[in-house]
Symmetry: C3
């Protein structure tokens, strides 16, 4: 009897190990301790959102166990990261605060795992690339679009507002004096935390510490991506001050640089700098154009720009 | 001379066997008698539409013969079902009643067969899944979109009305008293006939009888799908009374349940119930979100929600 | 020292050979002399645009060398044609005339080569078809959409105007008297030059001469495609007089007929006529429907209708 209890505890431990790896895998950190520190950082930034994210990770990981998918992938947290992001995205884009929100989180976290396995038959088997966070993006887009037509949840007007594109949008020409150095520095760190829908400098720090534990290269390229993403958005594209401060132009570049710089490529010195620079620039251009493309339905771009650029760059070197 | 006439008659017979199988294959019934009974049901519901559907099936099956595509597929009616749906969809979404309508029906029925063969190189060869009715959906969408810009046919305003999404759509909160039991029962059967763009209880009955002849499991899951689709739409999503009565939320679930429950899966008892339940729920969510996605161009979702969910679920179990 | 200079000159020569092949490859002419004549024709039509096109071809071909992609493809100009079209499309759709335009041309010409290699892993390796000009289309769409949100370039209002589709667009019913024969003849040749965004009868002639040098079949089907595209647009779809005169309905059919008639297919006599006729009709229908699909974001259809139809038809005959 004691042994069976022990065995059960061991299962629980393995399960939570996978869950925390899942939280870390959002930023490619395959390490339960990294996941724990990142979770603590998220908790500091927005306690409610962090618990929803944890809950989503639990559900999508559990789905992997119940459907008896590849246990190796489950153990590495690869079924968790989409659920984590879905768990945080659904409350983020919804106005309601009620606990009913766990219903869509459960439904879409389960679907994220099923969708992930399904598209990987194409991406992994034939293209030999990861599908990255595409499953999370699809699920969140489906949730948001279905919310327009259902009665239960109200979308956040400030984040989602469908409108028709105009050519002659009176564009407020920014001058470089508009941007302060302090604002930029703030953006470097909140840009990292924006990967998890949180705008908080301390959360960004915790995430960097968590990443360091797993791999210093990963942490370096996360910060590097945030910095060049912000600098491009400020001094090349001259975006609005608020969006720069909140790090909205950094989080896709953070992930792109992690992939191109440290994770999937083994490149020589000078190539890395070209790839990360050019990749970040293209990530921003995709982010701009995708937000135009989605304007009439008001969808957020989420991390799709990073996913798209990573697909393109990862498949040329094979 | 007598023999050659006999031979010719035999060809004609084989051809019409394929055509009626094609009409049945819309709901996966590979049986000419089922097709005949279903055709009779359609005739009762809407005589004009049923003949257009028959005509479309003839054209797309004939295309298969003329292009010398896989004769095995032709014999099983797999080149017919897309043509059948196109033949019914084009007059359904067009206001005009003139016989000129056979021009687009011919053009797109031919294209449905070509497109079907073309995409199957990807779906069947690499993904090992059927493309389902995707060819029909693409052709109908192309027809509708091209109608906006051409002078010949006028689209039906009531069915196709492009508009911009609004977050604060004044949603009429439905209470459960709005729904009567009689209305729900009516929807169960007209939901089945809606697969063929017809809202008619008797047509639904004929279709069920036709399916029974081919396989009782198929017929059971068609009805089952219609029932849970309707119940979800009524008691979970609280859709408008008219859309419930006309069975608009059932036809995708009918097809999803046929695929997941009877056709492509060999599942154990308890798994079947989970798959069909969860699959129907997701089909409805996709239907809601796709209609939001298409709002600015006014396209109907057709059977794409079923196609999408079936792709996802069919590819995880391999 | 003399020898090394000689070697360097040889490299330069090979490079420009590839570049001019790239300009010709837009219309499948793998011949540097054809490219040179076509370039001269473009120069006559619009000198500024032709140089931007040449510049784009140089950049995208150079990218192929620097990334050490398949040297066989580079030598055949297959990395040039997307860059050529991008170099001409970006100034064409932008109002600005400043030399800053070379910045987006450089960025997207590089990306066209990277994207081309990336998607060819799917198209060439698995589907065994060319990706045609899809890379150019994606890059131009990304450029245009990102322009909506950035401050630097102003899009041309006359070419790009997002609007909501209306069913009851007051369609000016054209009568056949509206179309003059002279106008149609003008369109036959300017339709060919429209492949390169130029509306000029003499440019069309130069292009035909250039194509003749490479293959008379290619030149014939280019003219043939232009003629039937124009005639369909005039006498079947009854499009506006200006669009007919400027050849806007011909350029996709030109390319479709080149592919179906001469380039990728080896067909018997009577089949060729069916494929080119039916393919041109479907190309026009796709062009109409895609422009409806893009109406709310105002994107131009570019050569995607040709690309789509060629994908479909090229993959059925394998």
């Amino acid at each position: 009897q004691f042994l069976s209890k022990w065995k059960f505890l061991r299962y629980i431990l393995i399960y939570f190990d996978s869950v925390f790896r899942g939280i870390g895998q959002v930023m490619f950190a395959n390490n339960p301790l990294s996941g724990l520190i990142i979770f603590f950082g998220l908790y500091c930034g927005n306690s409610q959102l962090s618990f929803y994210g944890f809950f989503g990770t639990c559900i999508s990981t559990l789905t992997g166990y119940l459907f008896e998918f590849d246990s190796n992938l489950i153990r590495n947290g690869l079924f968790g990261y989409n659920g984590c992001l879905i768990g945080m995205a659904i409350p983020f884009f919804t106005l309601s605060n009620s606990y009913y929100l766990i219903c869509p989180i459960i439904i879409f976290s389960i679907f994220s795992t099923i969708f992930y396995v399904s598209i990987n038959r194409f991406f992994v088997r034939y293209m030999d690339i990861s599908s990255f966070t595409f499953s999370f993006q699809m699920c969140t887009w489906i949730y948001i679009l279905s919310c327009f037509k259902s009665h239960h949840f109200q979308l956040n007007h400030d984040l989602i507002s469908p409108h028709l594109l105009k050519i002659s949008d009176e564009k407020v020409k920014m001058t470089f004096e508009n941007y302060s150095l302090q604002m930029n520095f703030q953006g470097f760190l909140s840009g990292i935390s924006q990967v998890y829908f949180i705008e908080n400098v301390y959360t960004g720090m915790f995430i960097l510490i968590g990443l360091c534990l797993c791999s210093r290269i990963l942490a370096f390229f996360a910060l590097f991506g945030s910095i060049i993403g912000q600098l491009f958005a400020t001094y090349v594209f001259q975006m609005s001050v608020e969006s720069i401060r909140s790090g909205l132009w950094a989080f896709n570049c953070v992930l792109t640089c992690q992939v191109l710089g440290g994770m999937f490529f083994v490149l020589s010195e000078y190539q890395i700098w070209f790839y990360t620079f050019y990749g970040s620039l293209m990530t921003l251009l995709i982010q701009l154009s995708l937000s135009s493309y989605f304007s009439s339905i008001g969808l957020p771009v989420l991390t799709f720009p990073f996913t798209f650029i990573s697909w393109i760059f990862c498949s040329i070197n094979q």
